[in-house]
Every structure is written in C-alpha cells, then in structure tokens.
Amino acid sequence: MKIVLRQASAILAIALLPALVTGLWHPRRPAWQSDEVTLAAASAWQNVLWVDARPDADFARAHIPGAVSLNEDRWDELLPGLLDHWDTTRKIIVYCSSLSCQTSHDVARRLREEVNLPNVFVLQGGWEAWLKRNHPS
C-alpha cells in the first residue's frame, strides 16, 4: 500500500510541472474566466444589455424585455443598432434558444474579437432558461 501511494504521489507531483508550463505558455491555453453566466447571477447585475442572437422571427415573437437583436444572418445591419445601446458601463449578455445552442457563443466571440467589446457573456440555458424562470407554466 505504501509503495502504491508513493508511486502515485510521484506521478501526480511530476505532472504538476508540465501542467504549469502548459498553463503559462501553451498557445491554446484556456482563458481563466468563463464567458457563461447563469440567469440567477445575471439578475443581480446592474446595467445589463441583453443581446438576442436568435433568428428575426424568434425575436419578433418574444424576447427578454429591452433586448437588442443581433444575429449573424444580418450582422452588418444589426450591429450599429447594438452599438447605439452600448456604452462601457454596460455588461453584454448574449442568449440564443437553449442550453445546447451554439449561436450565442459565436456572436459573443465576434463581439469580443472583432468589435473588441469588453464584458461580453453568454446566458447559460438561453431563452429557455429565462422562460422557465419568468413563465414557469
């Protein structure tokens, strides 16, 4: 048993060094801060700008009150409208339809990388999560 623990400890200890190097210098190292936020956490934030990444028809049917539409089908047309509502004090939270929807992440990525906006997050669970909380029926 002692031998097993000694050997296992050695492996776990040795692995720390390359892990540290990976975390500091790997070109594809992950960001320390996640871009996802739960509805519960977002509800406590002040000055949030909601961005709806769903198709036009879904946005027209219903959306989070005050949300601005920005989908990739009409990115060039809709982006100026978002910028009109934005200032540096606002946190942007992008949402699409549900937990498995990837579109909000794509829109958030472009807002961060192309438009260079700070404080851009994705709503975990998307529109479904908001509906569940605000319209449980």
Binding site: D73, C101, Q102, L117
Partner: protein, 213 residues
C-alpha cells in the same frame, strides 16, 4: 477459469461495434462568404449484414443544413451526408454539431461535427473604435490584413462623416495596412467602409464603426 471468462469479456467490445462506420466524425473546411455556403461531406460504410438507413438529421441552427442520401445503404456500400453552412455575414471558426439518427440498432444516434473557418479577403480589426466621455481625441488604429490566398491589389477606406479624419498607410503592399482614425469633435457616430480591390474588381465592403461620446 474466472480469469479466462474475464478475458473473454474484455473481447466483447469487438462484437459491439456499430455496423455503420464513419470515415470521419469531424470534418474541417474553409470558405469565404463571397464564395457562397461552405459545403462538406460525411461518408460512412455499412459493415454489417443488413441495409442501414439514415432516418433523420438534426442541426443546432438554421445556418447549417444536412441532407442524407435517400434510401438504404446495402451491406458493404458507402453512403454520404451532404452538409452546407451559411457563410454570409459570418467570420471566424465555427463548430457545428449535426445529430444523425439511423436504423442501426447498435448506433441509433451519432453526432458529427462540422468545423468551418470563414474568412473574408481582408480582416479588419477592430471593427469598432470608441472614445469615452472625457477621453482625449487621440488617433486610434484599425489594422487591415489580407488573408492568405487572396490577391488584393489595393484597399480603399471611406467615410461620409466629416467629423473623422482618416489616414490609410501601406505597411506591406497586398498584405498589411494601417488605418488611423482621428475624431475632430465629440459626439461622432460614423461608419467607415473598407473595400479591397481584388483582381481589379471591388469586393465585399467591410464596415468599421466609430463612436465618440
């Protein structure tokens, strides 16, 4: 005896293999929006003894379409699924999951991944310059980089708003440019149009936005 039985048990996965074998479950493709939708194909082989049919496909957004060949695939034959991804107005690397339903009892569902790199002829970064209230109206820079594989002869940058001063410098002809933007006053809201000249004809205009509070 128990050891032999155990070793036989370890061999079970070999018999549990699905009859539908994908040549690849992740396919990568690159495309420019001006070239239309990005397309890719996923192929599979029926290694079983019975015909296999793709009974349904599922994509996560309207930007991706997956069409399976109609009809069953006989044993030993290959089948395919054609996938297209809308590239218009898109930029960057996308990973789109595609759900597949089959009548293969060993693998009723499968998930394929389409990775698409969408690139324009030029990359304009950032696409927003802003000056906060009270911030000095010092010049800021937009970098314009030509994507590999595109033959860009020149770049044109224009803005109808007289509240901005633009200066376009060539860092490396056909490859790298710098657009310096200087607001002349507060409260400017403008859009700059950046147009690459490819093979003597203008291409899609990229917009950059300026906000001065």
């Amino acid at each position: 005896m128990p050891t032999r039985l155990f070793l036989l048990f370890l061999l079970l996965p070999a018999f549990a293999r699905a009859d539908l074998q994908w040549s690849a479950t992740t396919v990568f493709t690159a495309a420019a929006p001006s070239e239309g939708p990005a397309t890719a194909q996923f192929t599979f082989t029926n290694t079983g003894a019975y015909p296999i049919k793709i009974t349904g496909t599922r994509t996560s957004c309207g930007c991706t379409a997956a069409v399976a060949q109609s009809g069953p695939v006989a044993p030993g034959q290959t089948g395919k699924i054609d996938v297209s991804f809308k590239t218009l107005n898109r930029h960057g690397l996308y990973e789109e999951p595609i759900g597949i339903e089959t009548n293969d009892p060993k693998a009723r569902e499968a998930t394929l991944t389409l990775r698409v790199l969408v690139q324009e002829a030029i990359e304009v970064l950032p696409t927003l310059l802003f000056w906060q209230p009270g911030e000095p109206l010092t010049p800021k820079v937009i970098r314009i980089t030509v994507t590999d594989g595109f033959d860009v002869k020149s770049i044109d940058a224009t803005c109808p708003n007289p509240g901005l001063q633009l200066q376009l410098d060539t860092i490396k002809p056909g490859a790298d440019y710098k657009l310096t933007v200087t607001p002349k006053s507060q409260r400017v809201k403008a859009t700059i149009s950046v147009t690459p000249d490819i093979d003597g004809k203008p291409s899609r205009v990229i917009s950059a936005h300026v906000r001065v509070s």
